[in-house]
Symmetry: C2
Subunit: 97 residues, 2 copies
Amino acid sequence: MVDDVFKALADPTRRRILDELAERDGQSLFEICARLATRHGLGLSRQAISQHLAVLEAAGLVQTRRQGRYKFHDLNTEPLERVMTRWLRPDAPEGTS
Amino acid sequence: MVDDVFKALADPTRRRILDELAERDGQSLFEICARLATRHGLGLSRQAISQHLAVLEAAGLVQTRRQGRYKFHDLNTEPLERVMTRWLRPDAPEGTS
DNA sequence: ACCATATGCAAGTGACCACTTGCCTAACAA
DNA sequence: TTGTTAGGCAAGTGGTCACTTGCATATGGT
């Protein structure tokens, strides 16, 4: 579970996808492909993006909802918050003996 | 730079090492090896751990100081804090129109 | 000087990962 | 039904990664 989150974050393309979804939720696969191509210059195939989305969904970072022949993707930051407090101590501000 | 941090966090052994250093800073390579073996059941070679530490150091997550023939390792969480606020919005607590 | 300790460097190997290509299914429109 | 659009499944490939093995270096003790 935790492993899935970190593995998902390890790839720069997947982080770009998270950026895109953070900026605009509910995009379809083709929308994401188009925006990665036009705005980030990424020339990846549709299947490549689809596989990345599958990894992100397995990690719980992206949730999907089907609607007709479309499949919309939403960002879910909850796994990030849960996983990142691991080494960040509850900030004892320097004077806590 | 950012890529190095996420790549470093992608491996479970490296995360264990960060756990160890979070609990006790300033351990040498052999100390880390011993504690990973006894407390986590990890039977890795010294070189494996050494290479992991090199990755963590390249990411800035671990800082080292030499002292004679010893090399002590310290945790540095600053790259984590800098990198993880990327998708976690500055927590607008629900009533911020 | 000698020897043990603590660490570094380098090549080799097996597994995993990102990406592609090709075909297939499902939904909407004419 | 036929055609088009959105998406899924599966096999293949090149590259990267984690780990090992073997040798080398450096520090400290005696």
